[in-house]
Subunit: 215 residues, 2 copies
DNA sequence: AACTTGTCCTGTCATGCCGTCAGCTTACCG
DNA sequence: CGGTAAGCTGACGGCATGACAGGACAAGTT
């Protein structure tokens, strides 16, 4: 699979080295969630990890390189999001439940990784292919199975066939991502955080099935 | 109204000064659309403007301060977005048209200002109040009148009353913003850029009215 | 215990950007 | 033409960057 962990100059990292490396990543993650991305400096991360800038550069080419590492870690974790949609039913009473669980699970995941996802989102928007790919991995964990669900409903004649399932799924996932990243915006619209789920879920259900949620 | 333009150390800027200042802003805007935000340096902006870093610091406290300036300019411009919704009808055949024009206008605005909006979005997500406010100004230009439209439809019994109009409007605007910022994501889902509008418009219509778009 | 080997860390250095200030130049006005 | 305020920059201390060489350290060998 992935070869062993290597330093920038090609050596293989041993136990102690991996620990230091991990500590640097942890401190960077911490740093990202407390200061603006633009202000995160190598020297601060190194200081927090109780080591020197030179050590940082032994394991990562620059801040961005280390961020990518964290992001890839998170992208693996995003695999669990698949379960929120795959194999779930959108028919009858279970439909709204599926929708609610999806919204809830997605928001929770985003909240848990908000700092790193912010940077990934920025990188992707700026056209960086590596960040773009990572963002797609996360979104696809939900979008792919969701598109399948829409396709199935269309085939059964239970949804509007004039819409592209990929577009619908993509739009819904985009909505969830945006809502998760900017929860404060909803607060300022008078929608409390705890009301976010009950308001988003019917919209997702509406998007997938094309009809109002039954109550 | 707004006092005259002032330098950081309190002098009032004259004709020449304002020109230099504007040139710096223009170069910064250009810079933002060609390099990652993290890599935009004062010295590069100054060089591009054919002046010195010290001059930059005469007009702006730092890069962020100058970016805020550009963003505020854009926020004013966003006022025109109101017309995409205010006074438009969602009934009958004109509904889908309204929806299409909204999607089209919004995407166009975002595309035109994508570089600065990227930074605003990041700043808002990082919790910076100034950027958050600017982002809300832009989104509210659409979200407020859209929420009004939903309220009216609900009052007439033509839309689902169990949903919070503010939440619905907010969600739809979030969707549009996210789609605009990450058009490439849709491309990778097999949705061509020119198919974005025809796919988003029905979803917006669906969200506002709660029913399928008539064809 | 001395030696070897390869990993791991840091002191140091050249380079370049940051942000400030004093002082020079330019434009305007009476 | 002289005064005044605006406008610009050279120069500087401070700090981050990124590279390297050499020393510390752990683990196994003789």
């Amino acid at each position: 699979m992935t070869g062993q962990v290597r330093t920038v100059d090609g050596r293989v990292a041993g136990r102690r080295g991996q620990e230091t490396r991990q500590k640097l990543l942890d401190c960077l993650r911490e740093m990202l969630s407390t200061s603006p991305y633009r202000d995160v400096k190598v020297i601060d991360v190194a200081r927090m990890a109780g080591t020197s800038p030179a050590t940082f550069y032994q394991y990562f080419p620059d801040v961005e390189g280390a961020v990518l590492e964290i992001a890839e870690e998170m992208a693996k974790d995003a695999d669990t999001l698949k379960e929120l949609v795959a194999g779930k039913s959108w028919a009858g009473k279970s439909g709204p439940t599926t929708s609610e669980e999806l919204v809830d699970g997605f928001l929770a995941f985003w909240r848990k990784n908000d700092a790193i996802l912010r940077v990934v989102t920025l990188g992707a928007a700026e056209g960086d292919k590596r960040f773009f790919k990572i963002r797609m991995t996360v979104l696809n964990a939900v979008a792919k199975p969701l598109a399948e669900a829409v396709k199935e409903l269309q085939a059964k004649g239970q949804a509007d066939k004039s819409l592209d399932p990929n577009a619908v799924a993509g739009a819904l996932v985009s909505l969830l991502a945006s809502a998760a990243e900017h929860q404060k915006a909803f607060t300022s619209w008078g929608v409390k955080v705890k009301d976010l789920k009950p308001n988003l879920a019917p919209l997702v259900y509406l998007g997938v099935t094309g009809k109002k949620a039954p109550k």
